[in-house]
């Protein structure tokens, strides 16, 4: 298997992102045309067979999500694209929206057709204001060409897509907070159940998928679920966009076949990260965003795919891979992570709002020689359990994931007083 593939990003950088002709010359809109002849169940069968896992971070099977929505009564149903892309170290949705926006829009239109939905929304983080304008341009171009709007391609199906802007809040990437924000409210998460498939945007049944997930839909239909699956890992089909940053020589977005590359390939192959800069050694890497786990040199040969990583306590998450050289102190790094979460906590629940602040203080204390006590150790571990179990949403629940993985990866370093000096070596 090749280390790099060109599926979701086919045409990126080589074609005019806003040219329908360019996109069609690569087979664009063939999937949509085919979808008109298919029953919704048949479309979903392909997605299920493709084992397309949600690319936004939680890896929920897209086929299952679509099937649940199909089985729910009620109309209208809304299609929402999560383009909040707030996980630090993640910038692949930006790449899709910049370089192949028509593929994303085609995926959303196919979703609209599947659920006979009148409207789709793309919730784009406020920081991507320029991209919002470009997407609006792409939407207008599709409207003019009859791919959006009234009676698409002469069929009875009509569908509109609108962009909605965030305004700076990481928690709005959580899908229920996102819907609140899309309704013009503060972006705090909703209690679930009811699930968003039943009670979503404007209290209507709603599909929320990530940008990369939608952009995969046309591929699933043109390739067929089975071939899509074969292009990836037996338990998760297709490719994944990896966002490589940190101390690698060649940072950037790379598309790898799931299961076809190891972490070593991603960080060290000359085709991808090309190794660590300045002749230094790899210290550790952080996968899937700030809410994901850390891994170390011993994990490098794990294939990059959802299940093999999960078995190792690692995760694909958003696709972020931040590789740090050995000069970076993991404790200092984790303190930055804790500061991020305490800054971004929405404040709705105590375990997260207070927990993240206290966590940041503990991580500070760990850096003061001799300050750490066994009592701190016990309290920190209680705090982590409370945050993970009692937080209201995924932000608080996963805010300690990185720390928990680091405690295993660097056993001495996070137990200052109980395991002194020797551990620092």
């Amino acid at each position: 298997m090749a280390l790099l593939v060109s599926m979701v990003l086919e045409g990126a950088g080589e074609t005019d992102p806003l040219s329908i002709k360019d996109y069609e010359s690569l087979g664009g809109f063939a999937a949509l045309r085919a979808a008109f002849a298919l029953e919704p169940q048949a479309i979903i069968r392909e997605i299920t067979g493709a084992k397309l896992l949600g690319r936004g971070g939680a890896a929920y099977p897209a086929g299952k999500k679509w099937e649940q929505l199909l089985n729910i009564e009620g109309s209208p149903k809304y299609i929402v694209c999560n383009a909040d892309e707030g996980e630090p170290g993640t910038f692949k949705d930006r790449r899709i929206m910049e370089a192949v926006p028509l593929r994303l829009l085609e995926g959303m239109i196919i979703a609209g057709l599947t659920f006979n939905s009148p409207r789709g929304f793309i919730y784009v983080r406020g920081e991507y204001r320029r991209l919002q304008r470009r997407l609006a341009e792409a939407i207008q171009i599709l409207r003019d060409a009859g791919y959006l709007g009234e009676r698409i391609l002469g069929s009875p199906f009509s569908f509109e897509i609108t962009t909605i802007s965030g305004a700076g809040a990481y928690v709005c990437g959580e899908n229920s907070a996102l819907l609140n924000s899309a309704e013009g409210l503060a972006g705090r998460p909703r209690i679930k159940p009811p699930h968003l498939a039943e009670v979503g945007l404007f209290l209507k049944p709603t599909l929320v998928n990530n940008v990369e997930s939608f952009a995969n839909i046309p591929l699933v239909l043109t390739m067929g679920g089975e071939k899509f699956l074969q292009a990836g890992h037996p338990q998760s089909g297709g490719s994944k966009l990896v966002c490589l940053s940190g101390h690698v020589r060649a940072p950037g977005v790379y598309e790898v076949p799931l299961g076809g590359a190891t972490l070593r390939d991603i960080i060290f192959s000359p085709q991808l990260g090309d190794g660590i800069r300045d002749g230094r050694e790899l210290g550790f890497f952080h996968l899937g965003g700030q809410s994901g786990p850390l891994g170390g040199p011993a994990d490098l040969d794990v294939p990059y795919a959802y299940y093999p990583l999960r078995e190792r306590g690692l995760a694909v998450g958003s696709g972020a891979v931040v590789a740090l050289d050995a000069s970076v102190s993991p404790v200092e790094y984790l303190q930055k992570v804790a500061e991020f979460f305490s800054r971004e906590s929405c404040g709705k629940c105590v375990p997260c709002r207070e927990g993240n602040k206290i966590l940041a203080k503990y991580l500070q204390k760990l850096q003061i020689p001799g300050a750490w006590t066994p009592e701190d150790e016990r309290r920190l571990s209680d705090l982590m359990v409370a945050m993970r179990r009692a937080s209201f949403c995924g932000l608080g629940q996963s805010a300690t994931t990185a720390l928990a993985s680091a405690q295993k990866l660097f056993p001495g370093r996070f137990a200052g007083a109980s395991a002194p000096a020797a551990s620092e070596a």
Binding site: G86, P88, F91, R130, I164
Partner: protein, 169 residues
């Protein structure tokens, strides 16, 4: 201090059909048009009245989302990313270059009212030596001179000056 006229604010709301569900978009545009990167009390009151949204809800939005400000800021917001991927990849250097070039600390505005320096969370420009943003545009980190020329291009309002500089998006 520049101020947004009532008719400008009304026109922005009309663009969104005075729809309370588009409150965030309306406030973002009002802030952008304010010339001082903030939403004044006067504007908040007008929005509240026109859209029929309680003033407390307007302020809930203005204080919940980090892109809003009640206090006036410079015409251009200069933001240095302080999230981990940038922080450990030159982010601190970028911030200190920016502070040095602009002559202000984070949270402060330059005397000419052009720039406000802020630290920000990740804005998706990772892997570029401590990225920074000016208004809607993101740039890679670099030497003091490189960063200074980007700033100068804004000061002199000359997009041509920053062609090929270090633009990311």
């Amino acid at each position: 201090m520049p101020e947004l006229s009532e008719s400008q604010a009304r026109a922005i709301m009309a663009d969104f059909h005075d729809d309370p569900q588009r409150l965030i978009a309306i406030l973002l545009d009002i802030q952008e048009a304010s010339g001082a990167n903030r939403v004044e009390k006067k504007s908040a009151l007008l929005v509240s009245e026109t859209l029929g949204v309680p003033l407390t809800r307007i302020y809930e939005i203005l204080t919940f989302y980090s892109m809003f400000s009640l206090a006036p800021r410079g015409k251009y917001l200069v933001e240095a990313c302080e999230s981990a991927p940038c922080h450990f990849d030159g982010g601190e250097t970028t911030l200190s270059h920016l502070a040095d070039i602009l002559g202000v600390s984070p949270g402060e505005t330059t005397a000419d009212g052009l720039f406000t320096l802020e630290k920000s969370a990740c804005f998706g420009a990772c892997g570029h030596g401590g990225a920074f943003k000016i208004g809607d545009e993101a740039y890679r980190g670099g030497s003091r001179n490189q960063i200074a020329s980007v700033i100068r291009s804004y000061r002199e309002n000359s997009p041509r000056l920053r062609e090929g500089l270090a633009w990311l998006y």
